[in-house]
């Protein structure tokens, strides 16, 4: 039985802001199903009382001195922007009205 439907893949793509094509949906649903089936094998592992791992050497509370440091110059930060205007990034409208 498949674990993920075409509709679910479309929903996930929307959540991830991916405007996927119909062909991609068809391909991804089948491919993701194979991968998810493999992941289901983890359910058989007993992890009761096991702590999660995210680093080879557990580190806690990495702080630095609260000293001001030079940051990226404004022009350098803006230089990579696809559209800039008067020292700012120009963005498409974010509210649901006509531009």
């Amino acid at each position: 039985m498949s674990t993920i439907s075409r509709e679910e893949v479309a929903h996930l793509a929307r959540l991830a802001r991916l405007e996927v094509t119909d062909e991609e949906l068809d391909a991804f649903a089948g491919q993701l199903d194979v991968i998810l089936q493999s992941m289901k094998t983890l359910a058989e592992v007993d992890t009761d009382g096991v702590q999660p791992t995210s680093h080879a050497v557990p580190l806690v509370n990495v702080f630095r001195e609260d000293q001001p440091q030079p940051s990226l110059p404004r022009d350098a930060a803006l230089a990579g922007g696809p559209d800039t205007f008067e020292d700012r990034f120009r963005v498409p409208r974010i509210l649901d009205e006509e531009a």
Binding site: I4, A16, V50, T53, H55
Partner: protein, 509 residues
């Protein structure tokens, strides 16, 4: 006598320091080699002839003034395109970053520049380092210098192919699930994934932040160790960076090269030899011949059991896509890179979706969707949380093994370089290329791949896995194995000629 490009990085460094060669001569030789063969191999996304030669001239002037220089000063290096380089295009082989010029250097690039290694250019890779064949580069496929109809491994296929084809004596790779070691294995080169946290991630374009680790690619262990020491060490700009001394990998490589492994216990992982997880017969034969050599040098083999390794692959494919889906949210078409569909009418959200659809390739989209699924409400504990706990069990298997042995050994990858297109139709078949490398990433310890022999005329790698911050033992064992080889395997690759260029057009896909 041997050409400049045939020399090891250690030999080149000594020649430059002692005045037998200038860095300009050395750097020019590799740039000329790129001109001659990269039309066939296609390892580079960008070549910086002027920048490399400018650094080379600085080194030569310093030598002339009698200044003390670092151990690799003047020896050129190629850098994987996932590492940001100030003023030099950096794309992670993605269309979404096409034309982007980073305004800063990664910490490891700062260190390379401070050590005066000329940077030849940026190497091709699977988009955002997601893949095992470099077929998922958004630009072009890199070929395996041993057989231009086959993949060079991935994601760091460009760095490995550049070194295998002698277009660079050294290269930088990054390893999240095997992206340094697996390309090393299939191209007959050496590659090392250092202990996670041993090398700074600052300025690495993030894929899976709890796994990404930069490391060296070279033709032998000593060269790799020299580069490892250039780039390693604590970095306050990476909060996961370990504040501890760099393991003495150069010393260990020199010790290993003496060919003495007496007293060294090597663990052979039982689970890698059995059932569906077993390597193909030609790989097993080359690997076992390598084990015999290690025993002749005095190593003792001990069979160890690591039952949780069987879950490493699904664990990885929960953790890595989850972290990737979060990391890649930054490509929103606002601050850098591509913006698509901005017609003045569409909303930010619509433009964002169109930008990401146009800018990301199929494997990246698959992993973003997978990660979004694994992190969605109601699933996060069952998937990401569960995977992090299984990761602990894998780590415990390693820790238990290292109570008995100094290092673990395995083949690096279950199969030799496959032909283009053989595994792109079924992503899971592609993922299997990293079956033996992924456990090390889950644990966080060091792992290297060293060429061990051939199968069907293609290189096979032997993997050495060490304890956390025990990178030195992995270099020692690798260098010892090299000492049993009359010629480095990397030096027996077939010569690339114009003839092969023609055949690539037919063999490539």
């Amino acid at each position: 006598m041997s050409r400049i490009i045939d020399k090891t990085a250690a030999e080149l460094a000594a020649d430059i320091r002692d005045g037998r060669l200038t860095s300009v001569e050395v750097t020019t030789a590799f740039l000329d080699r790129i001109d001659a063969v990269d039309g066939t191999v296609k390892a580079f996304l960008h070549v910086d002839r002027d920048g490399a030669l400018a650094t080379a001239r600085e080194v030569d002037e310093a030598v002339a003034r009698g200044e003390a220089l670092g151990p690799l000063a003047g020896v050129p290096v190629a850098v994987k395109d996932v590492v940001v380089t100030k003023g030099m295009p950096t794309t992670a082989a993605s269309k979404i970053l096409e034309g982007w010029i980073p305004p800063y250097d990664a910490t490891i690039v700062e260190r390379i520049k401070a050590a005066k290694l000329p940077i030849l250019g940026k190497t091709n890779m699977d988009e955002f380092a997601m893949g095992s064949s470099t077929e998922y580069s958004a630009y072009f496929k890199t070929v395996n210098p041993w057989d231009t109809g086959r993949i060079p491994g991935g994601s760091g296929g460009g760095s490995a192919a550049a070194v295998a084809a002698k277009m660079a004596p050294l290269a930088i790779g990054t390893d999240t699930g095997g992206s340094i070691r697996q390309p090393g294995a299939v191209t007959g080169t050496f590659g090392a994934k250092p202990t996670y946290g041993g090398n700074s991630r600052y300025g690495l374009i993030a894929f899976s932040s709890s796994l990404d680790t930069p490391g060296p690619v070279s033709r032998n262990a000593l060269d790799g160790a020299l580069l490892h020491e250039v780039i390693s060490g604590h970095d306050p700009r990476d909060s996961t960076s370990i504040d501890a001394p760099v393991p003495p990998v150069v010393e260990a490589a020199r010790l290993g090269a003496t060919g003495d492994l007496s007293g060294v216990k090597l663990g052979v992982v039982k689970e890698f030899k059995e059932g569906a997880d077993a390597a193909e017969p030609g790989v097993v034969a080359a690997y076992e011949a390598g084990l015999e050599q290690l025993v002749k040098l005095g190593a003792e083999l001990v069979e160890v059991s690591c039952p949780s390794f069987a879950y490493a692959l699904p664990t990885y494919y929960l953790i890595a896509p989850s972290e990737a889906s979060s990391n890649l949210a930054r490509y929103d078409g606002v601050r850098y890179g591509l913006r698509a569909g901005d017609d003045g009418k569409r909303s930010l959200e619509e433009v964002m979706s169109l930008t990401r659809e146009a800018g990301f390739g199929p494997e990246v989209k698959r992993r973003i969707i997978l990660g979004t699924y694994a992190l969605s409400a109601g699933y996060v504990d069952a998937f990401y949380g569960k995977a992090q706990k299984v990761r602990t069990l894998i780590k415990q298997d390693f820790e238990k093994a290292f109570e008995q042995v100094d290092a673990l050994v395995s083949p690096t990858t279950p199969f030799i370089a496959f032909e283009f297109g053989a595994r792109t139709g079924d992503p899971y078949q592609m993922y299997l290329a990293d079956l033996y490398t992924i456990p090390t990433n889950m644990y966080g310890g060091p792992g290297v791949s060293v060429p061990v022999g051939l199968s069907e005329g293609m290189p096979v790698g032997l993997q050495v896995m060490g304890p956390v911050l025990g990178d030195d033992i992995t270099y020692r064992v690798a260098a010892a194995l090299e000492s049993t080889q009359d010629v480095l395997l990397a030096d027996t690759a077939p010569e690339i000629s114009a003839q092969r260029f023609t055949s690539f057009d037919e063999g490539g896909k």
